[in-house]
Amino acid sequence: MNIVVLVKQVPDSGAERTLRESDHTVDREVADNVINEMDDYAIEEALRLQEAHGGEVTVMTMGPQRAAESIRKALSMGPDKAVHIRDDALAGSCALATSAVLAAALRDLNPDLVLCGAEATDGRVQAVPHMLSERLGIAALTGARKLTVDGSTLTVERQTDEGYEVVVAQAPAVVSVWDTINEPRYPSFKGIMAAKKKPVTELSLADLGIEPSEVGAAGASSAVVDHRGRPPRSAGQKITDEGDGGAKLVEFLASEKFV
């Protein structure tokens, strides 16, 4: 089973993130950039499937030059090779354009399974997996907390607000995963050394037959018109419990008309 794992580099969600004053796009210079956390779980799932069923695992990312660090980091966990889609014209791409570019590259690779994170922590769009499914005409099993592969039959437990759904499809398919699905491995020293020699194919828009005007800021289907900092919350009253903390808390709730 050949698997492509989609990995996005995002600003670290644990650090302060900002938009650039000039064009309201995510400021990727000031933030520490990391692999989108959910994508680590997709990589882990791909490696487990490879261990059980064989085949190849390819990491694919669309992003600027600096995303190469995240590709090496992903490869150090164990995947065989990577594809880096990189083109200056891609800066500021919306989800629609991103999915068009990823779909074009996936068509060429023609994998049995595309694994990705359920959402990216920067935009929280949660739409790229379904957009890919729509473009490629293959099934999307999204929000998986469990994935079972039996021949070409894929079965997923999908978390819902009410409980979960069991959803079945035939490969090829896109499967997106939540962080409940597994526990990602840490790269070993050997893995880190090996990653340096693994093949990374760079693709430009021309390689994919996509016009620069269809992507990036030029081809965006939505635009940020303005942004401003939200006034930071200020701390209110803070008391130390001296045996009456609960009572004081209830007094506060009453003064705010919650009780």
Partner: protein, 320 residues
């Protein structure tokens, strides 16, 4: 006036709160029309309530395929409807399914998509709160019509001044083979009890690592129940198995925006704040005076939650 389509979310005939919010918003923007997609009989079960919130018409797609396959058939129906009626805007809930349907429709119609909005003006400008609540963005669709998903608890739903009696119009659409590739073979409800849905609740009481164990979470539940609230948890609490994962609040969990959020034994890491920072009033109980959660708490108690919370519960009981 042009129609504003609102994609209805319901569970067993009860409308989700976000649906009522969307209808309330849609009334400001044009003529609200509800889109009901589900098993046969769904539209009839929610028609009255949709009318109370001003839906002048219901477009319905009701079939076994709509109900039995993941998302694609719903996207096909919605895209067909949009092409027929040319609405002024289309609103969906910013829920897993709402976002997924919206994503597919965006591709089908090559139309821009705005995710997780908290408001939409009649000129099509949307507001979004991003990056753990630190930044407010205004944005617009530049290709096509405003297609947006609304974050639950963004506004207070109110019934229309005059209730409508919406007529049900079936949506005409066809499905192709690629729409029925992901078959739902089972739906399992996990026990939730009578508590309100986490993202919709006006009060949320959350517990963190400080709660210490699954058994101790009954204390969190007790307080939540006295306040008519939902129970939430930090990732440390769900990862430690104190509470089920679907109740996690934060960056990789649910985003909540209640009137009152009570954090018990939660330090207030940035990823937790991402999911609760837009709550109206925040209360925290933590024994560490330096815990970052106090930086945003309107009322903070420095103390042991195992003495503060039982006293809170007792005082609330006294008040009846």
């Amino acid at each position: 006036m042009s129609e504003v389509l609102v994609v209805v979310e319901q569970v067993d005939g009860t409308l989700k709160k976000v649906t009522l919010e969307m209808l309330t918003l849609a009334r400001e923007l044009g003529e609200p029309a509800a889109v009901v997609m589900g098993a046969p009989g769904t539209a009839a079960s929610v028609a009255d309530k949709l009318g109370q919130y001003g839906a002048t018409r219901i477009y319905a797609a009701e079939s076994e395929e709509i109900d039995g396959y993941l998302v694609s058939p719903k996207a096909a129906a919605l895209a067909a409807l949009v092409s027929q009626v040319q609405p002024a805007a289309v609103l969906l809930g910013a829920t897993q399914e709402g976002k997924e349907i919206a994503g597919r429709v965006a591709v089908k119609l090559d139309n821009g998509l705005l995710t997780d909005i908290s408001g939409l003006a009649s000129d099509g400008t949307a507001t979004q709160v991003v990056f753990a609540g630190s930044t407010i963005v205004t944005s617009k669709v530049t290709r096509g019509f405003p297609l947006a998903t609304l974050r639950p608890n963004s506004l207070t739903p109110s019934p229309a001044e005059e209730a409508a009696s919406p007529e049900v119009t079936p949506i005409e659409f066809t499905l192709d083979k690629s729409d029925t590739r992901a078959r739902i073979v089972e739906r399992v409800a996990e026990a939730k009890g009578a508590r309100p849905e986490l993202t919709e609740a006006s009060v949320v009481v959350s517990g963190g690592r400080g709660v210490g164990s699954a058994e101790n979470f009954t204390l969190v539940e007790e307080l939540a129940d006295l306040l008519g609230g939902a129970v939430g948890a930090s990732r440390a609490a769900t990862d430690s198995g104190f509470y089920p994962h679907q109740f996690q609040v934060g960056q990789t969990g649910k985003t909540v925006s209640p009137q009152l959020y009570i954090a018990l034994g939660i330090s207030g890491a940035i990823q937790h704040r991402a999911g609760m920072q837009t709550s109206k009033t925040i209360v925290a109980v933590n024994k560490d005076a330096e815990a970052p959660i106090f930086e945003l708490a309107d009322f903070g108690v420095i103390g042991d939650l195992f003495t503060v919370v039982p006293q809170t519960v007792e005082e609330l009981r006294k008040r009846g």
